[in-house]
Amino acid sequence: MSTETLGQFAFYSLAALVLLPAVFVVTTRNLVHAGFWLLPTLIGVAGLYALLQAHLFVPVQVLIYVGAILVLILFALMLTRDVMDPRERQTNGLVGWAALICGTGAFVAGHVLFRHAWPSPALKPDGPHAQAAALGAALIGRYALIFEAASVILLAALVVAIVIAKAPPSHAQPKPCGETDP
């Protein structure tokens, strides 16, 4: 098997690994299963990053998305799941329109992007070490301000998340579903 065939095989299997579970993520009735279907999608995206030779972002994707965000989502699902019966309908009345609009939009975008005459790649990316070194130099050099702004945003977001999610004062009793405020 030639390298090119191998590359095509890797790309198409990773694309299937990303897209098929993604469909289950948005359609499965059992939300915990939907959360677990995110796992192959996120791993598949990490694999596509590896195919794109963005070596640094493969472990970053696995650590941040699979290690942090997915665990956060599963925790939130398990903390709130008692009210969502898996046998209950999990979608609102928009399904038809949403499927039409998203399907048409994705098809048109994909068609236009696929037909566009993109310039063929002239250069090859650097190796993993040179890439990481260049990214690090860019982050403390030219893009230091953006980097600092991102870290401030992240810090502020996490502090706000803790404040919002903190237990309410004891006099505020949780209201049962359906009752309005007096």
Binding site: L19, V26, Y65, M84, Q90, P121, A161
Partner: protein, 102 residues
């Protein structure tokens, strides 16, 4: 030969699936899962353009790094809000949280 268009098609499909999930889910957390899919599609697009159009430039990688940061912040704040809503209303069903509806 796998080129830029193939990645862009995968990314467009992933974005479409994410938008569908965000629009149709009744559970707030499931809606956030759709948003995560959309953010993944955006990052995939950035890296595909980086790889095939300007592999020596560092801007796309910086963008993707910022994108990861934004995704983490969005997940943290979104889930904190959802937990608080659950505590207040006893549900995360977006159809039932309609106090501001006129």
């Amino acid at each position: 030969m796998i080129g830029l268009p193939h990645y862009l098609v995968v990314s467009a499909a992933l974005l479409g699936i994410g938008v569908f999930g965000a629009l149709t889910r009744r559970n707030a957390i499931a809606m956030l899962m759709g948003v995560e899919l959309m953010l993944n599609a955006a990052n995939l697009n950035f890296l595909a353009f980086w790889r095939f159009l300007s592999p020596k430039a560092m801007e796309p990688q910086v963008f993707v790094l910022i994108g990861f940061t934004i995704a983490a912040a969005e997940a943290a704040i979104g889930l904190a809000v959802v937990l608080n809503v659950y505590r207040e209303y006893g549900t995360v069903n977006l159809d039932k949280i309609a106090e501001l509806k006129g």
